[in-house]
Amino acid sequence: MTGADVLVRAGRLASEGVPFALATVVGVRRPASTRRGDRALVTSEGELVGWIGGACSEPIVVREALRAIADGESRLVRIGPAGEAAAGAHPDAVIAASSCASEGVVEVLVEPQLPEPLLAVLGDSPAAESLARLAPEVGWRVTRELAQDAEAVVVATMGHDDETTLAAALEHGVPYVGLVASARRASVVLAALRERGVDEDALARVRSPAGLDLGPSTQPEIAVAVLAELVAWRHSRAPVPATPAVAVDPVCGMEVAVDAAKEIATYEGHEYYFCGPGCRSRFEADPASYVTVEAS
């Protein structure tokens, strides 16, 4: 697969709204099996397509790619022999000691490509219509139904069964839940939710009225106020806490992404994950010695 093929595939994934990370070799100190400009993409399942160097670099790039997909941040990864990779590295580069015999150092830029967040706009009030029209401009995908994977739900039904919609959004754990209603109407809706057994913590998550407080507003102004709050909310949010599980290769000590690991061995009921077949066969030849090392 050429670098161009990788980009074609990346474009396809992006258009399908599938998350992935693009890994590009940006620096090489020879000897190394890769050149600047070599590229690969890593799916959220940890599958690597393309070429950024062989078995020495791949597990590290996959691990960092999965981290990038999880937190949305790009990272520069510097891979080389222990003790040498750090020399001359950019201060915020991720330093990774390769367990290979290769003496080269490779720098890889890992960029997550995440689909735009999904906003569910519920209701057909004028404010809802406007919000649905404006939100794509600021980088939201919009649905008019309650979707389980929505990151934000704005309920602006003008009263047509707000409670059911809100209860469902809270139950799905949608991070941003906003209600467009007067204070009095909102208090009635919240009381109804309470009666249905929705707990106080969940009720406290309902932003009501949704939107920044910009003063008494017309319908178009309400739409802009909600949009402004969504922009602020998206940028103030802490990175997603879910980090991919990582295990330490008991042979070489490298951190390996568990979900993407291809080399796995079971010993005394425990699973062990390896950076490559070399480490696994060494482990399998004498597992007891490595397990002791890990336990200490």
């Binding site: 003008m158 209603a181 910009l214 507003s217 802009v224 940028h235």
Partner: protein, 339 residues
Amino acid sequence: MRDILPTLERWAADGVKAATATVVSTERSAPRDPGAALAVSESGDVAGSVTGGCVEPAVYEEAREVLAGGEARLRTYGIADEEAFEVGLPCGGTVNILVAPLDPQLIGPLADAVREERPVAMVTPLSGANAGVSRLVSADGPSDGEVDERARELLARGNTAIVEVDGAEVFVSSFAPRPNMYVFGAVDHAAALAEIGRFLGYRVTVCDARARFVTPERFPEVDELVVDWPDRFLEQAPVDERTAICVLTHDHKFDIPLLKAAVATPAGYIGAMGSRRTTAEREERLRAEGVTDEQLARIRAPIGLKLGGRTPEEVAVAIAAQLIQTVHDRSQAPEPVAG
């Protein structure tokens, strides 16, 4: 009512009688603002709306009665919250709606004024012998007493509301031309701001001295594109309290003379783009040009609420939000004493 004027014009031209139901005031949250109207023709056709569809059936019946020769009437639709629940009806707000026969003679002149962006108010007494009988008041011309004066005050601010004169309530529906938004600097942010500005009801002009950037391809969403020096353009452009001036040039060469001109106008919103450092430098230069602290305080800089967005579209939302906030701050300020 603005949205249904084309339909009303057609009915008037065809000699079709009609009655209108107009929102004259609202309490708490209501789906539509004062001035929103629904019209019913004698053949039963409907145009427009007064709420999100919740009181329309009741209003329709009232309009039919008026068309059948009934008197103009003021109706209040306040839906108790408990009741709202049971019937699945909305809002918890209250709307006051005037249902009255439509005078076809008014429609032509009103539609012309709106098309030509001439300010005009429709004035309708809510009680007394002339209840429900509307007439038009333009921004100039001879004044016909206190009602006209009060109507003109509202019209100048683009407000639609009920005024009380000698103990009688009169509904003033302003058909003010769209307020102007002047955007200086033909940058990507300007295109995004123009779009949201138009959405908020502004007539948007984008001005830049560099002709090659001021093209309809880059700015499909604007009312007017101007190639001129920003300060020279602003000095001859109409500016009133509803005008928004957005300075996105972030180049001292343009900014300084432009902002100096801007603070000399009554514009309701002046914002200037630039980093905090640029802003500080710019303030120094403006002071050196004789701009006072009071004038400087009118400039929102760096422009826009701090929302953390980075794309031009996100910045445009931040500017629009600040503009809305500023407009409301001003509308809540004590009315200036006429003098």
